[in-house]
């Protein structure tokens, strides 16, 4: 894979939103990493957690993952961009 164009940096609101919520949800907040890149004008956020915390992020019937994506979309809309969340296992 070629190195994607990086965006946002430490102060990115998109990353901040996902990190804030996910760290509160999991048992191992220190194992949470979120990387941000831009592909075709869309910010792509890749989320990784400790393997045991994956279920908490997804939730029953994927409800928590859906909620995360909704809040990410609202944040992106607020900042005039579009974003996508990839949960990596």
């Amino acid at each position: 894979m070629s190195a994607p164009e990086t965006a946002g940096g430490a102060g990115s609101p998109l990353r901040a939103v996902i990190e804030t919520i996910v760290r509160a949800l999991v048992d191992q907040p220190d194992a949470v990493t979120v990387t941000e890149s831009v592909r075709r004008g869309v910010s792509v956020l890749e989320l990784r957690t400790a393997p045991g915390d994956m279920g908490k992020i997804i939730g029953r019937q994927g409800r928590t993952a859906t909620a995360l994506r909704t809040l990410l979309a609202v944040t992106a809309e607020r900042h005039g961009t579009r974003a996508q969340l990839d949960i990596k296992d």
Partner: protein, 148 residues
């Protein structure tokens, strides 16, 4: 209570991270704790039927579920959006109960999410002549309102 302060702090942290200038207040009601968000930036949360607000509430409830316990309910509102919507839902439920009584036919409402169904069931429970039940097996279910 220290926990409600912690919850309000978390909600404030999330909306601030989202870039929204909103102030958080806590309201202890008979139906549990309500975190109120106020401010002009609330518009993006209540758009598309309050999708963002619902997502925020789900995240807050999931995060604090263990500390809250089963019978403590937490809701997140923004500029009175949920309060107005809940009142509308109650009114609709009562209207459907009347319609079920006059027509003799069961009336359908929904599909509704668990939070909305609870409001409908509670409104119908106050009516001695009507009864309600949920059908379906997903998160969203239809509520059937019929005469007793």
């Amino acid at each position: 209570m220290a926990l409600t302060t912690e919850i309000a702090g978390f909600v404030q942290q999330v909306v601030t991270a989202m870039g929204l200038a909103l102030t958080t207040t806590i309201e202890e009601g008979p139906d549990g704790t309500c975190v109120n968000l106020e401010g002009e930036d609330g518009g993006v949360l209540v758009r598309r039927g309050g999708e963002g607000l619902q997502a925020l509430q789900h995240v807050v409830a999931t995060t604090f579920r263990r500390q809250l316990g089963e019978d403590t309910r937490i809701t997140v509102d923004c500029n009175g959006f949920r309060k107005d919507k809940d009142a509308e839902l109650r009114q609709m439920a009562r209207h459907m109960a009347e319609k079920a009584k006059t027509s003799g036919m069961p009336q359908e409402m929904g599909p509704l999410n668990p939070y909305e169904r609870r409001i409908v069931h509670l409104a119908i429970a106050e009516d001695p002549g009507a009864t309600s039940e949920s059908i379906g097996d997903a998160v969203m279910k239809t509520v059937i309102i019929s005469t007793k």
